[in-house]
Amino acid sequence: MLQHLCQILYDSHFGTMLRESDNAFSVVESVHVLSITLLIGTISVLDLRMLGVILRPIAVTRVARGVLPLTWAGFAVSFVSGFLLFWAEAAHMYSNPAFRAKLILLALVGLNPLIFHTTVYRRAHEWEMLHVSPWRARAAAIASLTLWSGVIVAGRAIAYF
């Protein structure tokens, strides 16, 4: 069923055009890398702030308000460009182990802020000024840094299968 859907995308006019184009695929790929840099680079600033590595004098919520719009912008662009790349190679992606690993990591890395924002971050006003955030916030930060690095590793590995 999923495999069939991937084959339909792969065979579609747009998918074929993108795959066989001289430049379009490379351009989308470059946009994908750049937007991932925006996404992970900005969220890592918040993660490192909560760990107390950088920006200690600035409230966690201030840092969050500064970087999260950039993180979301990076996410939107990398999601769209990533879907286009998938579209072009869908039939190969279905069975690519690195691609599967990347999707699993993305699901986990999405779950992390969901838990974080509904639990410890709701009381952020109590600890936003602490130089080092409470352990649950630090755990979320370490999970974020680890999982996003994993996404990069898995994403790069896709080309090797």
Partner: protein, 140 residues
């Protein structure tokens, strides 16, 4: 480095992870310098703290970059994209330690003046140029 494709892949992965950290540090500092985010917070503090992540990730990128280069030295020597990348990298680092730093110190908690804004835009353009030229090495 010329033995296994996975050795090469692992170095590429390190290069990309460091790129994310470098890109984030540059962007946050320059957007503060432009007065677009974290207004009112000390640009001096932000610049100093993020210079640690920036320089650490730059170090990781240079080391992994040298390892990548050892695999493809012949190709890179003749690649105009690689030459552009090295020239832009040298310019970006030089600018970062000189005029860019002065702009950060000068702005501190205040609103940026025109020169600080220009410094932020030049910095963003130089680092972006390094990245674009780097991507082009694999394409041209």
């Amino acid at each position: 480095m010329q033995t296994s494709q996975w050795d090469f892949a692992i170095v590429e992965m390190v290069h990309l992870i460091a790129l994310a950290f470098l890109g984030g540090s540059v962007l946050v500092v320059d957007l503060r310098l432009l007065g677009l985010i974290l207004k009112g917070e000390s640009a001096r503090t932000i610049g100093r703290d993020l210079s640690r992540t920036l320089l650490l990730s730059l170090g990781a990128m240079v080391l992994s970059g040298i390892a990548l280069l050892s695999e493809e030295a012949g190709k890179c020597f003749y690649s105009p994209a690689f030459r552009w990348k090295m020239a832009l990298l040298a310019a970006a680092i030089l600018f970062y330690f000189t005029l860019h730093r002065r702009a950060l110190l000068h702005t501190d908690t205040g609103r940026p003046n025109a020169w600080s804004r220009v410094a932020a835009i030049v910095s963003l353009m130089l680092w972006l140029g390094v990245g674009v030229a780097g991507r082009a090495i694999g394409l041209l």
